[in-house]
Symmetry: C2
Subunit: 596 residues, 2 copies
Amino acid sequence: MINTFCRYPLWEVSKDLVDVAQGRKPADIVITNSRLINVCTKEIQDNMQVAIVKGRIAMVGDCSHCIKEGTKVIDANGQYIAPGFMDGHIHIESSMLSVGEYAKAVVPHGTTGVYIDPHEICNVLGLEGVKCMIQDSKRVALKTMVTTPSCVPAIPGFEDTGSFIGPNEIKQTMEWKEVVGLGEMMNFVGINASNETTHAIVGETLKAGKIVTGHYSMPETERGLNSYIASGVRCCHESTREIDALAKMRMGMYAMLREGSAWHDLQEVAKAITKHEVDSRFACLISDDSHPHTLINEGHLDHIVARAIEEGIDPISAIQMVTINCAQCYQIDHDLGSIAPSKCADIVFIDNLEKCHVTKVIVDGEVVAENGEYIKEIKDYVYPEWATHSIHIKDKINKETFIIPSNNEKETVRVIEVIPAKVATIERHITLPVINGSIAADTTQDTLKAFVFERHHETGKIGKGFVKGFGIKGGALAQTVAHDAHNLFVVGDNDEDMALACNELIKCGGGMVVVKNGKIIGKVELPIAGLISDKSLEETNKQVIGVEKAWRELGCTHPSPFMTMAIIPLACLPTLRLTDRGIVDCTTFSFVDLIV
Amino acid sequence: MINTFCRYPLWEVSKDLVDVAQGRKPADIVITNSRLINVCTKEIQDNMQVAIVKGRIAMVGDCSHCIKEGTKVIDANGQYIAPGFMDGHIHIESSMLSVGEYAKAVVPHGTTGVYIDPHEICNVLGLEGVKCMIQDSKRVALKTMVTTPSCVPAIPGFEDTGSFIGPNEIKQTMEWKEVVGLGEMMNFVGINASNETTHAIVGETLKAGKIVTGHYSMPETERGLNSYIASGVRCCHESTREIDALAKMRMGMYAMLREGSAWHDLQEVAKAITKHEVDSRFACLISDDSHPHTLINEGHLDHIVARAIEEGIDPISAIQMVTINCAQCYQIDHDLGSIAPSKCADIVFIDNLEKCHVTKVIVDGEVVAENGEYIKEIKDYVYPEWATHSIHIKDKINKETFIIPSNNEKETVRVIEVIPAKVATIERHITLPVINGSIAADTTQDTLKAFVFERHHETGKIGKGFVKGFGIKGGALAQTVAHDAHNLFVVGDNDEDMALACNELIKCGGGMVVVKNGKIIGKVELPIAGLISDKSLEETNKQVIGVEKAWRELGCTHPSPFMTMAIIPLACLPTLRLTDRGIVDCTTFSFVDLIV
């Protein structure tokens, strides 16, 4: 696969590299006195030098003859140097940050490349939204390699999204130079049922010679996993058990071991490596989803490498899992993933290997981060006007919108019960009062009213239901981060606050809002597609912390409850879900009535 | 890289694979009771089953549900199964066999894929000759992946070849679906001098996203090797010392450890693995050149794997070096190199792992070899008429042709002295008698007359010189296997026998001829390009044995002396060489006079 993410393609600068290695021309940079973490041979080589010119590595070894007038000498002072870290599967939208802000956050932690699956923005804005993220990425020294979202919508027929991706769209994007593969194929049901369209989506990727990334979350490693891999899926980040990861590696699938903000898989899945004497070349470390507070408090791949080491994986193997292994997974190892002649000069300095503490980062032969700070100037990128006006709701929302009419005195309804910090829900049947001809929320039974407004095409579709388990009283919560269709989702115990929350969100272009007794007490503004902030990491984080606090003020004690709320509309998870089209029984994949 | 060497591309059969793994359709083949050599995790998995359909692997594990009506069950009886072996660098012409005959010889030994560099035929017949070999390959179950010869002629300006390969030809062939990369870039001098054309040849390959294979034979692993690798060369089979192979792997270059008929590198280079605790993913095992007797008496990659094990490399690592490592080198691991779902069903059965004894070979889901025999029917392939008429010499050769006039009684001349079983030569200055006005051979000084006739374009160019060291008396030896230009080369102690040898060769279209006192006592007919036999492996071997015997009859005791003779015209090796243009001093790369 041709890599267009380096400053120059090799064929344009090969003679320069040779001239430098031969001592005929000066290197741009020579790193001296380093301990090279050699991910090719799994060794540490002491007292090494590296000569760089035109963004690539010209020589590794004694490079004193490459130092001439104009060469910048960087004394590593005995620190380790490793290839730039790469995250093999990440949704940048989860950070709520623009690519630029995200890069500023992660590059100082050693991340020089990310394989993004922009399926959140794609559900809202389609491929035009993906193009915006690509534009956004071009202003930063973070190689942003795109995998085209494979499952938009996630569950066709059960929700309305802003766009649709089919085999034709896949074929088209495979010609984009920024696209290196297909985003996580979540539809393992379709794959394993030999569904024509699902296989065509994979097929268009394979025909282009690109990589199909996976998502196989079943606790089954026999015929289900086999047939899923047989379709051409090359990697998967959904292992939660030792045997999942081990089975995948044995079947030649790259096991992407995940340690995200919400999913802490490593403790368990690292055992696939530590408890078995296996070649670990098919293992990678990835984050999937990182939230702002994780990026600020823990870091990114540096943190995950350190966690892997804590779990007993040897340090060089752990570094291989974010460098050469990832590069080989994406068949881009001729340019990325090792410190070797010809490769892009993406180099991370580490002063404490066990903790994977990064002190300096070079990307394409340029020092871009030092001591935890991104030091390169970043141009502004303003998302286009249309990308920040993605909330299109047919009718004005007011308290009357939330009337659920009934002629009875009370009604027994289906209620979605959430479980703190879990993805599954429980179906409950609860009898609720009817007040002024409308079925009402009932906080004595911890039951809130829940509405999903289609917000992409002004279809006027509204899904109506009830949720239980948040412990909320006297308010409402609304958000446009509502997977995967990202419609406008609101819950509350009274119609006035629900209407206020919705209208506040519509006004600011989307995000998350908390209302208490007629007053807005928390808000994260995410005007870009209703998903992404136009603010800095720090400001966004402050807003998120504010919303978490507001939830607690309303009585909810869950960890990150807005995340639990965000997946209530995600109809590919068990058991009961609410989309803009209604209540979905996700065990039978059918719509069910509100009233039992 | 899209692999067109399997029976079906994955996207055409992915639904079939899924249907079989899911138990909805019958497998074509299920292998039971096998010990799977898992090259992904470097483990042996006992009691494994493998289900195959449409030439690909649908499932690995318990495949009993895939056995239905029409499924062929192959009981492995506890034997090992490994992925099909691949040779990462081979010149089929060295075997003197057609691709079909070569395949019949090597497939039963477990070889299911070869990366060929057809630079011998290309020097004679150009890309049309390469196309013939590709056609030839299509009739056999041996995946024949072509690397376009990079150095035709080997040393421009010092010899006449039948063709020329430049950047344009490289660009053109990179569009051929059979071409996976560039053949060994022997011109490391040009690379390291930043020569424009040499870099353009590499560059056209890189632009096509294909693999550049190498040939760096210098005992230098610092700036020379660094700058050579920096140009984009990905692998190299020219390591002869432990430190060569180790340095290459450390620089992310695939070290292709060679054990060919003539070059026995393994004993030394295996130490790069066995004496260092390194990750061996960058090591491959290859043959480079195999002669008929090696293929018959020792085998091919099975023999080399066994040799690697003898040298202390653990068996699974050795198997990795002819499977997954080679596939990753060529970035074709999504289709080849492992026994895993989706991959081509190229599978080797082994009953003795230490000796790597192969009992059965499956290619594309079909049993093609059993108990050492290729059992699949092979269609005939007849090379086109023009390919078998490649000897085009301007003037008729007779004994007068060999007169080297002199008016003196004796002359002191430059003589090329050969060293048994070594590639280097020594320059000697020897005084020879002048008989009837012509400088004569002198067997009392072990010195033979040597002539190289340009044989491609009837230019009439003749290189004239003398060689020493063969111990020959009373005869002549001629051959058209004369690297790399493969002109007609003859040596002898009398002009009559030299003329007879040449004319006999011209008559039969090329090959090797031995004449003793006016009688032909040995001959290998190689009518295809003067390099390749149209006979079977066995018949060709018999002829080669006959020629070896004839050399001995004339007094030469060297091992395979025709090979030593074949490289006398190869002007990229030290010290003194003879081409059709004259005597070349290979230390200064200049022509020198015969007479001192």
